[in-house]
């Protein structure tokens, strides 16, 4: 031992090359060591959820800066890096992700893109929401402006995913989730979109509720265009369902007796209440026009066109709005078509006969009240009567043979009188007309079939 001590006093010359080696070792190994430790530290943090993670290694000391989503996660991250073999110290610059209060998340849609903003609780949920948005929106660009924050309500991801599905149903607008309150504003992409969104919101996860739903639906439009040149009535737009669709087309067929009905309607949800009750009389008003357009947009009815004579124009302007359900508005731009040239009595008779072969004047069953479906025909008969101002006209009422002959006689007289009253109200002089009832005495066809009876129930115009 004493020898060792003695020899050691002679060991010093080797320290000189040792220092040189040490310098070389330090020079060559520092960077590879740091790179290796950085890689190992990153690998150790692979399963830890962190935001803004940055690792810098100097020598064997690892500087870790990151934002963790819980205190437990933060400590775990520091511990994982400290446990990496070779690491001497961990310079801990970690902190917790800031807490958002209230926790607000939003999805906003404009013409070009959908922007997801506000806070998301975890990077994974942020990624998942972006993916959900891309899937739900097809080719629409999805912009990510979400930042990460703590404080999300439970089941946030499910709620946000459901809301992303709703933003897909919007043309433009914004959906905001503030803690557990959902606010929606904007315009639905399609008719019925508003209702579909409202229905979907009922499936929000437990604890979430709708604070404000200001989604607007695009206007519910129904249009009818009467073209006298092509002799067509074109129906376009929306109807509530197939029953209303069929009823409207059948109704239009009765009212527009000389026009072909072109049906381009499609059934869509979202019709305003009282749709059919408003559209049927509006179609009746259109049928009285020579040419015209009916536009029903939500609860607003616009009718424009040419009436056949002054009184008809006034009746339409004054009368139509009264038949509408509450809350509906009516705007009429009715002008009067110029009076056609006068004709002599024979032509007049021919014109009456032409009109009355195309359609019959209808009454309510068993009564002398005019059916609304016949107003268009009556206007045309009136217009024709105006063209032969010197002719006297007999308005002849006929019934079928069913029932009591005396009652039939009385009914035929009353019906003829009703038609005459209509003509007089239109401004024609009463002394040109005589209303005569023939009961069942002048049948056109046999009374043994329904078809024959229908032919026999009629009003004839006879020019005297």
């Amino acid at each position: 031992m004493h020898g060792l001590f003695r020899w050691s006093s002679k060991w010093w010359p080797g320290v000189i090359p040792l220092v040189v080696f040490w310098a070389f070792a330090a020079w060559t190994s520092t960077i590879p060591l740091e790179t290796d430790l950085a890689a190992r530290s990153n690998a150790a943090l692979k399963d830890t959820v962190l935001d803004k993670q940055r690792i810098s290694v100097l020598g064997r000391d690892v500087g870790l800066s990151a934002e963790a989503f819980s205190e437990e996660g933060r400590l775990h991250a520091v511990g994982s890096v400290a446990a990496v073999p070779g690491v001497r110290l961990v310079n801990d610059n970690t902190r917790l992700v800031p807490e958002a209060k209230p926790f607000v998340w939003s999805a906003e849609r404009d013409v070009a893109r959908v922007t997801l903003g506000g806070s998301a609780p975890l990077p994974a949920s942020k990624t998942r929401l972006l993916e959900t948005a891309r899937n739900a929106l097809g080719g629409v660009e999805v912009a990510d402006q979400m930042s990460l924050a703590r404080g999300a309500p439970p089941r946030f991801d499910n709620a946000a995913a459901l809301l992303i599905d709703q933003i897909a149903k919007l043309k433009d607008g914004k959906i905001t989730l503030s803690d557990t309150k959902v606010s929606l504003a904007g315009m639905a992409r399609e008719l019925g979109g508003r209702e579909a969104i409202a229905a979907a919101l009922r499936n929000l996860p437990e604890g979430f509720s709708v604070a404000a739903n200001d989604i607007k639906a695009p206007p519910y439009v129904f249009q009818a265009y009467k073209d006298p040149v092509a002799s067509t009535l074109t129906l376009t737009g929306n109807v509530p369902d197939n029953n209303v669709h069929a009823a409207l087309v059948a109704n239009a067929g009765r009212k527009f007796f000389s026009e072909k009905v072109v049906d381009n309607l499609k059934a869509s949800v979202g019709a305003p209440a009282g749709f059919a009750q408003a559209v049927v009389p509006a179609l009746g008003a259109l049928s009285r026009l020579s040419t015209g357009t009916l536009v029903v947009s939500d609860r607003e009815v616009k009718l424009s066109g040419d009436a056949l004579y002054d009184a008809a124009a006034q009746q339409i302007r004054a009368g139509l709005g009264k038949d509408f359900p509450q809350g509906w508005q009516f705007k009429a731009e009715i002008s009067v078509k110029p009076q056609p040239s006068a004709v002599d009595a024979t032509v007049c008779q021919q014109l009456f006969a032409d009109l009355l072969t195309k359609a019959r004047i209808r009454f309510e069953s068993g009564s002398a009240e005019l059916s609304q479906d016949s107003l268009g025909l009556l206007d045309r008969l009136t217009e024709t009567a105006m063209r032969c101002p010197n002719a006297n006209i007999e308005i002849a009422g006929h019934t079928d043979a069913d029932g009591d002959p005396a009652a039939n006689q009385a009914l035929s007289e009353k019906r003829a009188q009703t038609v005459m009253d209509f003509l007089v109200r239109a401004g024609l002089p009463a002394n040109r007309f005589t209303a005569v009832g023939y009961g069942a005495s002048q049948p056109l066809a046999g009374n043994d079939t329904d078809e024959g009876k229908a032919q026999n129930r009629r009003i004839d115009f006879v020019v005297k």
């Binding site: 006093s9 002679k10 040792l18 000391d61």
Partner: protein
């Protein structure tokens, strides 16, 4: 430590061999020796450096270089001790024969 050893074992081996060679020479070397007083001071210095390394107070790369130097120095000393002892053993075994 095991990790560090695997990382630069070449340099550690070099230090050990250098120490061994120096130790081998030292037994029969006739050059100047380190005085007792200086040796004491050097020991104090090494102890201070060792303490600094263990306390991890030297930051970053300097800390790593200090660790590296101390490990190399330790292995050098071990090499020296083995070298000197072996040389002494060889020499003392040879003496009676001579």
């Amino acid at each position: 430590m095991a990790y560090l050893a695997t990382f630069f074992w070449g340099w550690l081996l070099t230090s050990l061999l250098l120490g061994f060679a120096m130790g081998w020479i030292a037994v029969v070397h006739r050059g100047p020796a380190v005085s007792r007083r200086l040796a004491l001071w050097l020991s104090v210095l090494v102890a201070a450096l060792l303490a600094a390394a263990l306390a991890r107070i030297v930051p970053g790369r300097y800390g790593y270089w200090l660790d590296l130097g101390l490990i190399m120095f330790a292995l050098y000393l071990i090499g020296c001790a083995i070298g000197s002892w072996l040389r002494d053993w060889v020499v003392s075994r040879g003496l009676p024969r001579a």
